[in-house]
Amino acid sequence: MIVFRYDKTFDGLLTAVFDAYVRKTFPDKLLGEGELAPLFVEESYLVTTQAERADRVWKSVQKKLSKTSCNMITHVWLSEEEGSDELIFRYIRKNLDSKHSIEMNFADPDVLQLNQLAKKVGREAEHIRQFVRFQKAADDIFFAPISPIYNALPLSVEFFADRFADQKWIVYDMKRNYGYYYDLKNVTEIALDMDENMPDGKLDEKLMAEDEKLFQSLWKTYFKALTIKERINPKLQRQHMPQRFWKYLTEKQ
């Protein structure tokens, strides 16, 4: 078994592709730098990330594949799923090796799997757009916590910046402990000390804007009033709105 070790960055992965073609050996397994090697390793190679090499690989990928497929590769990278890097590696290699791109051949297991995983990440990004709930703080910043299963927040930031262009806001990934802050001009990445300030992501009443409480209760009232009792169907509700989002939903408190 041939093992490549790299620094678990996207550039590192692309450099690994480059190096594999240079060395003419292709890894059976991709590992992080400190990860435990499997038994029976024939050969182990340490990839040194080089932006220039990564750039060249990405350019040729862009030349070969449609924009949608390139986006899908970044989606899959953001999934942070076990083995997603190996999937991207195989996908890029298969496409570079074939005369025409095979991105539309969904009968190929890697192509199909990459599509399906990318779709899952895309869905999570959509869930973020759906289920983020802002709370207005006293300093007029709208704050929202979220903890998605995939690292999909970067995919949704542009949406919030576009839609809420005239208000300051923060969307914060509680699980990965980073977020984005928009100051009416630019979006910047931030890291807050959440554990001390608000462990459960809820603004303290003292920190809330004056009318925040009122709108929260109005929303809750509205949500309750809208249910048609003759049609109660909690299973359908959970199917559309997974329970893992409930802890930050205003209407579910």
């Binding site: 095979i102 539309m104 051949n105 969904f106 009968a107 190929d108 297991p109 199909l112 959509e126 757009r129 759906q130 289920f131 983020v132 709930r133 802002f134 709370q135 207005k136 709208f142 929202a144 576009d162 839609r163 809420f164 262009a165 005239d166 208000q167 009318d211 009122l214 709108f215 209760s217 109005l218 929303w219 009232t221 509205y222 949500f223 309750k224 009033a225 809208l226 249910t227 048609i228 009792k229 003759e230 049609r231 109660i232 169907n233 909690p234 299973k235 359908l236 509700q237 199917q239 559309h240 709105m241 939903l249 205003t250 209407e251």
Partner: protein
């Protein structure tokens, strides 16, 4: 905001909840720099109530006072319920503040009719106008057009709203007259026509000048109540199909009748809202819009009602075994769509993948085809066995409608090891 706003909210949301439409799709409205809101082509659902319905728009009434007395409606004049009215300012503030918190995708404004249609419509238009012009709000707006309102007001509404709708409510005119004596189909179709004219005219003008104003860019929709009258599915679906031929009609919604006014003996006494029938009608609706079916293929004189046990596509397939088995490696897109268990997405995957090689049953399964149904209707590289010809439509029907065995239920055909003494 005043203290009674909570109470008003409750009353007016409860009055509005029977409107089914909640789509926020069909239009793209870019954010103007430095203002609030945007709308995306596919729409976003922001929450789901306990009945599993989506909350995309702030679905609310301006008022639930009404001069009409329609039997199926909770807000009818003769009902003794709590009544309330929002002022336009209150409603504007609510919409903006909810929107800023990402609770909603936009506003769905409806209203009971007070004084006369024009008076009501004018107040509604004032709300949407204020949102768009004063608050420079770019989110989605769906507005009900009040039957009987003047053409001029409909025109104005169309300039600010993304979608306008007029509910047809009852598919046939005699039944509508029985339940709502003050209404007729004319009063519904006339505003529909106004909207359609507005849309077509605006399209025409925008072809000449790109800056010409858009008129209800997301088109119009309508709604029918199911199960309140004796209309069969054939009547309903024919009405639907006729509506879809109109250029601006985007969606027809079906609302399973919920007996809100049980004392009225013109209405049938139902124990349970006809939810399955409603679901089947939506499935048939999808067949019309996305699966290239004609309405007389779904229901005809021999089968005027949809089969409640199986979906309309499977039902069509079982009535037409001669069309199967379909070879997924050869059949055209339209025929692929007719295979039960295979939808638009899988059909597209198949069409693009088979250029690279032959498709097998394993691949189909991985693509998300429901093989439990599809297996009886396809051949795919492998030899077909057990298709609708080797067995029979009756057998397949029985197989697919069998109740699933729950865990713990004893299987019927397995003998017990312990013999009775």
């Amino acid at each position: 905001m005043k203290a009674d706003i909570l109470e008003k909210m409750k009353v007016l949301a409860e009055s509005a909840k029977y409107d089914v439409s909640c789509a926020s799709s069909g239009t793209t409205r870019k954010n103007q720099p430095g203002t609030l809101g945007s709308a995306h082509g596919w729409g976003i659902c922001h929450s789901f109530t306990e009945d599993g319905r989506c909350v995309s728009l702030l679905k609310i009434m301006l008022t639930n006072y009404c001069i009409y007395d329609c039997a199926y409606c909770i807000n009818r004049r003769s009902n003794d319920i709590r009544r309330a009215t929002f002022t336009p300012d209150e409603l504007v503030e609510l919409t903006i503040e909810f929107y800023r918190r990402n609770y909603i995708e936009g506003l769905f404004l409806s209203s009971g009719v007070i004084k006369n249609p024009d008076y009501t419509m004018e107040r509604m238009v004032r709300v949407v106008k204020e949102l768009r012009t004063i608050h420079r709000y770019n989110g989605y707006i769906h507005m009900k057009s009040i039957p009987g309102a003047s053409e001029e007001l409909v025109r104005q509404a169309g300039l600010y709203a993304d979608r306008l709708s007029v509910n047809i409510e009852i598919p046939t005119e005699p039944n509508l007259k029985m339940l709502a004596p003050e209404k007729n189909h004319q009063s519904v179709f006339k505003p529909m026509l106004h909207i359609q004219q507005g849309v077509l005219q605006s399209n025409e003008e925008r072809r000449k000048f790109r800056s010409a104003p858009r008129f209800a860019p997301a088109g119009q929709s309508t709604q029918m109540i199911i199960g309140a009258t004796d209309d069969n599915d054939k009547t309903i679906l024919n009405t639907t199909a006729a509506l879809y031929t109109r250029p601006s009609m985007k969606r027809v919604y079906y609302s399973g009748f919920i007996p809100v006014n049980t004392y009225d003996n013109r209405l049938p006494a139902l124990k349970q809202a006809p939810l399955v029938r409603e679901n089947r009608l939506y499935q048939a609706d999808w067949l019309l819009r996305f699966y290239e079916f004609k309405v007389d293929e779904i229901v005809d004189d021999r089968f005027p009602n949809l089969d409640l046990e199986i979906d309309p596509k499977l039902s069509w397939a079982l009535r037409h075994p001669e069309a199967f088995p379909v070879d997924v490696n050869k059949a055209d897109y339209a025929m692929l769509l007719r295979i039960p268990g295979l939808g638009v997405k899988s059909a597209k995957l198949i069409v693009s993948s088979r250029r690279f090689g032959r498709i097998t049953a394993t691949t189909l399964k991985k693509m998300g085809v429901v093989m439990k149904k599809a297996q009886y209707f396809i051949t795919c590289n492998e030899l077909a066995f057990n298709t609708v010809h080797e067995t029979s439509p009756e057998y397949i029907r029985k197989k697919l409608t069998e109740k699933k065995m729950k865990k713990g239920d004893a299987p019927l055909n397995q003998l017990s090891i312990i013999f009775p003494e």
